[in-house]
């Protein structure tokens, strides 16, 4: 019961694992490129939670710094990714990732 009552590291890790699972699920299954990007954000956030959780329980600041960087990079990535999605839309008139397979060649 202690585990249920006291919020420990495992709770964080569990949350992050769920977030990762949802993120991955979104990335793997969704057809809309926007939703895929959202899945990616979820995965990044899952990683952030992990970093912060370990940082808290290790007592260092490295995890926090990492999380900060990841947030910044995630912002930049979101901008670039949206730009790519817009260009894809311009070319293919669609954002359905399942129909875009020109990387095959």
């Amino acid at each position: 019961m202690e585990q249920l009552t006291t919020i420990g590291l495992n709770h964080y890790l569990t949350i992050s694992a769920f977030l990762l699972g949802f993120g991955l699920f979104a990335v793997m299954t969704r057809k809309n490129a926007i939703v895929v990007l959202m899945g990616v954000e979820l995965i990044l956030n899952a990683a952030n939670i992990n970093f912060l959780a370990f940082s808290k329980y290790n007592g260092g600041m490295e995890g926090v710094m990492f999380a900060l960087f990841i947030i910044v990079i995630a912002a930049a990535e979101a901008a670039i990714a949206l730009a790519i999605v817009i260009n894809i839309f311009k070319i293919y008139k669609s954002v359905d990732v399942s129909s875009i397979d020109s990387m095959k060649e």
Partner: protein, 753 residues
């Protein structure tokens, strides 16, 4: 170096100079350079005549001999052979001197004659060049002092003979004849070379003198049979060159050459070279070898005489007559009548050259008609030719007062003496054949004289169809070809063809050689050329050495050695009045033969005169008085007639045996070649192909298979993997996850176990 040696070398080289000048430059010299040939031969004859004068007339010594040699090739000590030095040298003795003068004289006359006979021929200059090289080689044979150089010149005369027989090489018959002559001579020369090698293997020298000295000293290390074999093998060279049975077949065919060539080469000089060679090796011939030689000579003389009586071609009659006379000479050497044989060589050279040149004049005048059946009545048109031809004919037939009588009688006397000494009945066959041939000679020459010179011209009798063939066959130089074969066109030949006839005919009279018209032995010739003592006979140390293995100490073989003559023979030789009484031979057999031969002199004269008269009477009866019709006689004894007309079928026999045999052998070899050798080659090829086929299969299936399989595997893998590469990011992510998952599974599995 003796001055005579120097002169003789000059004589030897002059004709070579003529050859070199004429063969290269004859087209740039006026008259194609014929005057150069004649002039050079004239000079050579002049020098030879001087040598003759010095040696025979001034010195007059039977034992005269000067020699000079130099080392030509020194091969040092050849392994397996021993010291090998080849020397070249010149020897001048009485025989050489006489031959030198004879060869250059006849060559000069033939050169002179040819300026008339060959005039207008398109290869006129080359003809004189060939005569030059022939004369050079012939003089080389005469002057050689060793077997090696004599062999070289022997082949050279063979070559010149080949070139001159085939001078009209555009005619197939001439081309065939030259090949036949060359091949027949090769057969003989192989034997000669083997004989030379037998002697060389024993003595390591080619020099005649050293070989005889060694033989006399008993240094011959093999059995007597080998010595006999060496003698017979050396004699084979003579058989080929002097056209003896069984290699006589080439000489009659050699008549395809120009007639002056027939006179020079195939009557007077080259064919006599064989006899000359046997005379040079005479002293080393064992009695057995001499028997072989005598029988071959007798067979040749008789056979050729029987053939000559039915031939129609004027030159062929003379050719067979030459073969027959050469048979006499060889017979003479075989029976030991050495001087007589060489005497006959010289006398025959002159009168037969005269006959051939005479026949050439006739052929020339008759516009290249050679068949005696269509001649006749030429006596009035060609008085000079008629007179000289008749004189030479009488000499050939051997009538008294001619040179031929002296020499032929001496040979026959020797043959009778030989038969007496040998004692056996079979040996009487030799003189009997000789006498019978003498009769036949008289007969066929009488026939020839009558057919050619007497009676009416029969030119018009010539069958028309035959006419053209024969005309073309004998149409040697077209410049003189004339379709009118009538006697109206026949006229005496010009002076340059007449002069040689007169000179040669003059040399066929007895007083040139002997003051006594009945006995040649009284003449200078037989005194100057005495029979040399054998080095291998009975009384010689050679035989004792061979039997006992001891080497007898003293050296026999000197011509006039006076020791160890058996008293009986020596006493007989003391009989006064014997021309050869001065010579006493150590060998009893030889001494007896010489003596018996001399005793048989008058017997021989009687028999041979009777035979000659019989022969001439027969010719008169048949052809002049026409008591016996030749046509009817011929048809009455048709098999014999055909036997003679077809030359004893020797050509056919050789055709059936040697030629067919070689063809068969060639076919067998060809079969072997095309089946066995080719079979092996083809078998190897087939095997290689089979191997290549297997290899190809291996390559195609295994190696290519591996390569193709790799390609296929890569292809297949690629095809599978291409399916994975969808180009959709989500698929990749799924795969990534799966791999990650797989890794975790693996990791945890390891962790657990």
């Amino acid at each position: 170096m003796h001055s005579l040696i120097q002169l003789s070398i000059v004589v030897l080289l002059l004709p070579l100079l003529s050859f070199v000048i004429l063969i290269f430059f004859n087209r740039r010299i006026p008259r194609r350079g014929d005057f150069i040939g004649v002039g050079i031969l004239g000079t050579a004859f002049g020098i030879s005549a001087y040598i003759f004068w010095t040696v025979i007339v001034q010195t007059y010594d039977p034992a005269f001999r000067i020699a000079w040699d130099f080392t030509w090739i020194d091969l040092g000590n050849v392994p397996g052979v021993g010291p090998l030095q080849i020397k070249m040298g010149v020897v001048i003795d009485n025989l050489t001197t006489i031959m030198l003068a004879m060869v250059t004289l006849i060559s000069l006359l033939v050169h002179l004659y040819s300026t008339g006979y060959m005039a207008g021929d398109k290869n006129y200059g080359r003809y004189f060049a060939f005569l030059g090289i022939f004369t050079f080689s012939m003089l080389g044979i005469v002057l050689s002092d060793n077997l090696f150089s004599i062999y070289i010149f022997w082949e050279l005369v063979g070559l010149s003979s080949y070139l001159l027989i085939g001078f009209f090489f555009e005619k197939d018959s001439a081309a065939d004849a030259q090949k036949k002559a060359f091949l027949a001579n090769r057969v003989g020369d192989i034997g000669m070379w083997l004989g030379i090698l037998i002697l060389y293997s024993q003595f390591h020298t080619f020099s005649f003198e050293q070989i005889y000295a060694n033989l006399a000293a008993g240094n011959f290390g093999l059995s007597n049979g080998w010595l006999t074999a060496a003698g017979i093998l050396l004699f084979m060279g003579c058989v080929g060159k002097s056209a003896q049975f069984p290699l006589h077949v080439w000489l009659p065919d050699a008549m395809e050459g120009p007639t002056p060539v027939s006179a020079l080469i195939h009557a007077a000089t080259m064919v006599a070279a064989g006899v000359y060679f046997v005379a040079r090796i005479f002293v080393m011939l064992t009695p057995d070898a001499l028997h072989v030689i005598a029988f071959i000579g007798a067979c040749t003389a008789f056979m050729a005489a029987t053939i000559a009586i039915t031939q129609n071609d004027i030159k062929r009659v003379l050719a067979y007559s030459t073969v027959s006379q050469l048979g006499y000479m060889v017979l003479g050497l075989g029976v030991g009548a050495y001087s007589a044989s060489l005497f006959h060589l010289v006398t025959h050279a002159f009168f037969k050259a005269c006959l051939f040149l005479g026949s050439g004049a006739i052929i020339h005048a008759m516009h290249h008609e050679q068949d005696m059946r269509w001649m006749g009545g030429l006596r009035k048109h060609m008085p000079w030719t008629f007179a000289t031809f008749t004189l030479a004919t009488l000499a050939l037939a051997g009538l008294p007062l001619t040179s031929g009588f002296l020499s032929k009688d001496a040979i026959l006397a020797g043959a009778i003496g030989f038969a007496k000494v040998e004692g056996g009945g079979i040996f009487y066959l030799i003189p009997v054949l000789g006498f019978f041939s003498a009769m036949l000679t008289a007969f066929y020459m009488g026939r020839q004289i009558w057919l050619v010179f007497f009676g009416e011209s029969r030119t018009h009798l010539k069958p028309a169809d035959n006419h053209h063939q024969a005309h073309h066959a004998h149409d040697s130089h077209a410049a003189h070809a004339d379709d009118h074969h009538t006697s109206h066109g026949v006229h005496e030949v010009s002076w340059n063809m007449r002069a040689p006839l007169v000179i040669l005919a003059a040399l066929s009279v007895f007083f040139v050689y002997s003051p006594d018209p009945l006995d040649g032995a009284k003449g200078w010739f037989m005194k100057m050329i005495p029979t040399p003592a054998t080095v291998v006979g009975e009384a010689n140390p050679q035989k004792g050495a061979l039997l006992s293995g001891n080497v007898a100490p003293h050296l026999a073989g000197v011509v006039q050695t006076t020791e160890v003559a058996p008293p009986a023979v020596a006493a007989e030789h003391g009989v006064p009045g014997e021309a050869k009484g001065g010579h006493i031979y150590t060998d009893t057999r030889q001494a007896e033969i010489v003596h018996a031969g001399h005793a048989a002199h008058y017997t021989a004269i009687y028999i041979s005169s009777i035979m000659v008269v019989l022969g001439i009477c027969l010719a008169l009866v048949v052809y002049v008085f026409r008591i016996i019709d030749p046509e009817k006689t011929a048809s009455a004894i048709r098999p014999l007639y055909l036997f003679s007309l077809n030359k004893w079928y020797w050509d056919e026999i050789y055709e059936a045996t040697f030629i067919k045999g070689s063809m068969l052998l060639a076919r067998m070899l060809s079969w072997f070649d095309s089946n066995v050798v080719d079979g092996i080659v083809n078998g190897v090829a087939t095997l290689a192909r089979k191997f290549a086929f297997v290899n190809d299969g291996f390559d195609r299936h295994v190696v290519d298979g591996m390569v193709n399989f790799t390609a296929f595997a890569v292809n297949t893998t690629g095809a599978v993997l291409r399916k994975l590469q969808t180009g959709k990011v989500q698929t990749y992510v799924v795969m990534l996850m799966l791999v990650l998952f797989g890794y975790f599974v693996l990791y945890f599995t390891r962790l657990i176990y």
